[in-house]
């Protein structure tokens, strides 16, 4: 009798405690990120797919097509082509195709790069119904970004965006551009 009364009392007390805790949660703000409308900002060291790094002085790619990354890639998903432009000391990249359908995001390419010419993107909204969207020419993307930036500077309010740019690309720009100046490429190998 005494035991069962005690059991009832402690049980009731625990019920009340539980209800007090849930009511406390009821009035706290919600923690949901409403995904399609808003998405999380990835941390600085997020390892997405790779992108070329722009040389802040010239505004062009640092990459000079040494093909170390191509060789380092275990899945054979990088194809780099370069050419020696007139009057230049080094070669410069003319094509940098990343076949993202094969990429396993191992990061060997970034480790292999001696000059910090490639870095991880912070982009992760990469869903698409078209396989061709994943065969990305990173050099062309970089150049398009540069041309567009120049065009926007020239005529600030003419056009917002080229209609050809697909959704994943637009988001890449939006996500990457703010972090481009201050994001240090991961350290070059010793």
């Amino acid at each position: 009798m005494k035991n069962s009364l005690k059991e009832i009392a402690t049980g009731f007390n625990s019920l009340v405690t539980g209800m007090r805790i849930t009511l406390g949660q009821f009035f706290k703000p919600s923690v949901t990120v409403q995904y399609p409308h808003e998405s999380l900002k990835m941390p600085e060291r997020f390892r997405g797919h790779i992108v070329l790094v722009r040389d802040p002085e010239t505004g062009k790619a640092i990459c000079f097509a040494c093909k170390l990354c191509e060789r380092a890639c275990p899945s054979d998903c990088i194809t780099v082509e370069g050419a020696k432009l007139e009057g230049a000391k080094k070669k410069s990249v003319t094509q940098y195709v990343l076949d993202f359908t094969k990429c396993s995001l191992c990061g060997s390419c970034v480790e292999a790069c001696r000059d910090g010419a490639i870095r991880y993107s912070h982009e992760y909204n990469l869903a698409s119904t078209n396989k061709d969207d994943y065969i990305m020419d990173l050099f062309k993307r970089l150049e398009d970004e540069r041309l567009e930036a120049e065009r926007l500077e020239g005529s600030p309010k003419s056009e917002v965006r080229s209609p050809k740019a697909e959704a994943p690309r637009q988001e890449t720009k939006a996500a990457d551009q703010p972090s481009t100046p201050n994001s240090q490429p991961p350290g070059t190998p010793k």
């Binding site: 069962s4 009832i8 019920l15 539980g18 209800m19 805790i21 849930t22 009511l23 949660q25 009821f26 706290k28 703000p29 919600s30 923690v31 949901t32 409403q34």
Partner: protein
Amino acid sequence: MMASISNAISALWPEPLRLVLFVVGIMSFVGANAAYLVWVERKGAARFQRRPGPTEVGWAGLLQPIADAAKLMSKQLIVPAGVDRTLFRVAPLLMMSPALMSLAVIPFGQHLAARNINVGLLMIFAFGSVNVMAIMLGGWSSRNKYAIISAARVVSQNVAYEIPMLLVVITMIMVTGTMNLNEIVLQQAGGFWHWNFFRVWVNPLMPVTFLIFYTCMLAETNRAPFDMAEAESELVAGAYTEYSGMGFGVFFMAEYSNILLGCALATALFLGGWQSPIGHLLGNWQSTIDVLIGLFWFLVKMYFLIFSVVWIRWTFPRTQFYGLLNLSWKILIPVSLFTLILSSAMMKLFR
């Protein structure tokens, strides 16, 4: 206004018209509540888990029930092969109708009851037991093993919880001396200390009685933590497994109508119904404005109880089945019997 309108109606128009008005009123009240309590449930669940809940359909997801209803109605009503068609079809209706019928005697205000009959309480509990039969028929006629297990569980659960509930109600009938709900509410006039919930000089265990009633109401309406009838993790959807489209929708609405009825009954029995918690402020419950204020207090109390139902659902995990039966047979029934004996003894000694 309500009083004068109903007086005017009874003077001018025949009785059947008044009944039709009340039938339409109650059906729309139950329908709207059943639809929007789903929204309340989803929003409440979301808030308890710190999510925003439905936000996409209409402002704050307020059109969600309409979208749900459109979806359910556009679905095919499948009757599985080899089932008893009649019983399978009738079961959802059987579950819905007791709630609708019982609301006829709930006094929303002194003159706002469809039927002010002397045995209102008895009528509610007479119809209330049809509920069990409805789920049992639905589960049994589905020809599905999960549904049959669920039906068996529902019967043993509801039989177990009907006993303490009725013992509590018998205590209330003894204390109030009437089965007329309107009179029970009238007895609780003049401030919250006159409510049956606080009537400790009649029976010091009155708040416990209320808790027993509320617990049994949760179990009778198959709400968590006593939702053995549709224990999703164990029985797919329990008795509702084979129901599709609006057949399932009616079961769902019936669940919420039964909660509505249970909370309305608890309000009228224990929390003073349409009586204001701070005594009479204006007149004597005859004028228009007083009826509206009474309705307001009734709805405030009822919706607080309904909120508590949601609150309890999203706080406690489902009990195990033997825990459920132990709670009823080992705790609720002895305690409610004790309160019954105690209050009868105290009434004999002190009155």
